[in-house]
Symmetry: C2
Subunit: 448 residues, 2 copies
């Protein structure tokens, strides 16, 4: 499990980091798997991929021995509310509306400020790093604090400031919601190389028509992703239908919300016609199966999204409605849920699910050209799994194991943008003990 560092004289220099002796799952357009593979990183970019023997003469400052494990793209979590991990397990097993109105919104009003947002975000970043997530797409409040915390963790992220039509953390006057989000989006659009800003409208039932239109326009003007919870529950569908005589998707489309820079989160209660609208507009989907199961929201028509060619990624949702951020177990849940739901073992095969958690997720949040697969020229967002474990042996098909057998705890090393951020399961960028102590201290005072 040791990584060796070599002296780096210029005449021998081929790259900064050489990973060797791994089974490389590229998730590229040919879905290539390279047994006993090697991968060279120069600066933040993948510069060569081949077999270890083909690349035997290459030199790099740091050599990482994957020791027969799996080398694959870091996972992409297309929907989180990072600070909410602080509420994990506080309020389980209640309907979404009760959970939101009687617990989460009240807890947020009472406890969420810049300091707690920082604490919760760092906690989530630590969890994501240790379970192999290298990119996330977040929506919350005090998002500038989220951005600074995510920056310190080293994670790649699209971070959306929340817009909602009532007072929320950091938002005393909801009339200034969109202005606040726009100002944040502009400020953080290019502040850090790994971070892109976004605007996150909470939902069509918590934002007025005017707010939705205004926020979408602001996202377009700023050139950032627009995210929104859509058609999550049956009651939301019924409410929108009653108020607007439309499905939720038709309603948003009538406002001009749907285009190729809009990410629709959940999309459980959508019709065949809705799927066609989403496809035509070029919007993307974040599918959150475990949250939808736990909150008894329903089962999204993911097979229809994929069949229609709609970029569809996986999301864990916040830590309070899942209750972890492990995308490996999320893959397992997705693969199994749709099989039993459709009574068809052939649907959501393991490769499709792996793509949702990597390249399709990256596409869904607008980062498909830089991450989500291991290809020359892409950013070096890479994880290495230790497969010398009884639940991963024998290995006939590594992709089957990634979906059905592995968990985030099998991730050994994590590289983002060519930087080693986790080495032998130790986070190099964050003070994990300090974060755990702070989060525990926060929780010790919590009451409702």
């Amino acid at each position: 499990m040791t990584n060796s560092e070599q002296s780096c004289e210029p005449k021998f220099f081929d790259g900064d980091i050489l990973i060797k002796n791994g089974r490389i799952i590229t998730v590229d357009s040919q879905n290539r798997i390279i047994d006993n593979g090697a991968l060279l990183i120069r600066s933040d970019i993948i510069s060569k991929i081949g077999t270890t023997s083909e690349m035997a003469d290459m030199h790099a400052c740091t050599v990482i021995d994957a020791r027969g494990g799996i080398v694959m793209p870091g996972l992409v979590n297309t929907h989180t509310h990072l600070p909410m991990s602080l509420f994990r397990g506080f309020a389980d097993d209640m309907p979404l509306i009760t959970w939101l109105n009687d617990y989460m919104f009240k807890l947020e009003a009472r406890y969420i400020g810049p300091e707690t947002v920082q604490c919760g975000t760092l906690l989530s970043c630590a969890e994501m790093l240790l379970s192999g997530t290298t990119t996330c797409c977040d929506g919350y409040f005090h998002e500038e604090v989220v951005a600074e915390a995510v920056y310190t963790s080293g994670i790649r992220a699209v971070l959306g400031q929340g817009v909602i039509d009532f007072p929320a953390p950091g938002i005393v006057n909801p009339l200034l919601n969109v202005e606040h989000a726009t100002s944040y989006a502009q400020k953080f659009k290019n502040r850090y190389p790994r971070i892109r800003s976004a605007i996150f409208c909470h939902s069509p039932y918590t934002c007025s028509k005017e707010t939705l239109i205004h926020a979408k326009q602001a996202a377009l003007d700023t050139g950032v992703l627009f995210q929104i919870h859509v058609a999550e529950t049956r009651s939301e569908r019924d409410q929108i239908r009653q108020q607007h005589r439309k499905t939720t998707v038709e309603y948003l489309d009538s406002l001009g919300i749907l285009d190729s820079t809009t990410l629709l989160v959940h999309a459980v209660w959508v019709t065949d016609a809705d799927v066609d609208i989403i496809r035509q507009r070029g919007s993307s989907i974040s599918h959150n199966p475990e949250s939808n199961m736990k909150l008894a929201s329903g089962i999204a028509p993911v097979l229809d999204f994929i069949r229609a060619g709609i970029p569809t990624g996986l999301g864990t949702d916040g830590g309070a409605s899942n209750n972890n951020l492990d995308l490996f177990t999320e893959m397992d849940s997705a693969a199994k849920l749709h099989k039993v739901h459709r009574f068809d073992v052939g649907v959501l095969d393991v490769l499709s699910v792996l793509k949702m958690a990597t390249i399709e997720g990256a596409k869904a949040i607008g980062l498909g050209n830089i991450t989500g697969s291991l290809e020359i020229g892409k950013k070096a967002d890479i994880i290495i799994l230790d497969t010398h474990k009884p639940h991963l042996v024998p290995m006939y098909n590594p992709i089957s194991h990634l979906v059905y057998s592995a968990t985030g705890a099998d991730v050994r090393d994590v590289l983002i943008d060519g930087e080693i951020v986790v080495k032998d399961r130790k986070i190099l960028t964050l003070d994990l003990d300090g974060i755990l102590i702070k989060a525990t201290e926060f929780a010790s005072h919590l009451t409702i």
Copy 2:
């Protein structure tokens, strides 16, 4: 993470092992949780449970510091086919009948013998130990080899020799099936303290009426558990209905199969009347949600079983249809699946699910009086979880975390029958490296 060992002079002796500084989840009849708790073990038995301060003066040969983690009963896996982990991931995403007839039965005929049964069993035992399972209920062939391998691992188990009406591993003449199973059951009934023998009829569609009656009578005569796959798929239900004009449960009941020493595995396609029959006969259920999801079999009416007071445990099924033996993620799947299936967040609350994986599972396989909960006088089958991890912090409700946030990889120490079998995630009873090498070697030759 260190355990200390004290000198053990008789005058100071209170017990063999003292576990302290843990949050003890007893899963006893009052569902007591003892914060900062301690637990004393004398020989193989739990002799005292209290707070660490109450038990500060107690001495034991070995002191295990749980360091603020969770101390809980070891998990009970009510349905496995241990050697089948060797086929994990070889044949995914196909219907049960294709999977069985075109892959598993063929692979078994070609590759399964005493040596491979031993190899696969040890592999599964290693996985179970490292994910906190201390008791399992198995059904396979060459079960005497399974029993010897399980014995070396230290796991508590109920192990059933398979009965099926066609040639199977170790069974050249199916007419002698039941005799073979009976002879095994007698031989291993009391051979090892932690192991009980059983008879496992594969299913009502692979065993004739005569075989079923004969095998059940043999189990009764020998005084061992009788296990059978029941109503797993819709096609099985239809076939039995066509042949016998009865539901599968009615059919088995008409043969006198159902009583309080019968474990019905899967029980997906059962009616309300069937549930009532099962309740009246006192039979038990093994619920295998992940296998049922992965094979698209259907969703068992678990809420009805529990409401009727039928002992209902959790099972992973074999490693080839899940594809792991982790009961923590199985708990998560069970809790979430039934919520979304019933559109009701209130069903299968976390405590009910934890009980399925512990005390109810123990009851279902006839071991409720000796394991499945932490109570004075019960066997010391105990696991300790390291909760100093970002996905388990903060902790408002430890049971929520066990069901929704933890995985088997959070298990640090495992004790069975008062013996430490896993310490700091190292298995003390088995040669893990040797097992992994053998299993990998086996797989390298496998073709169909």
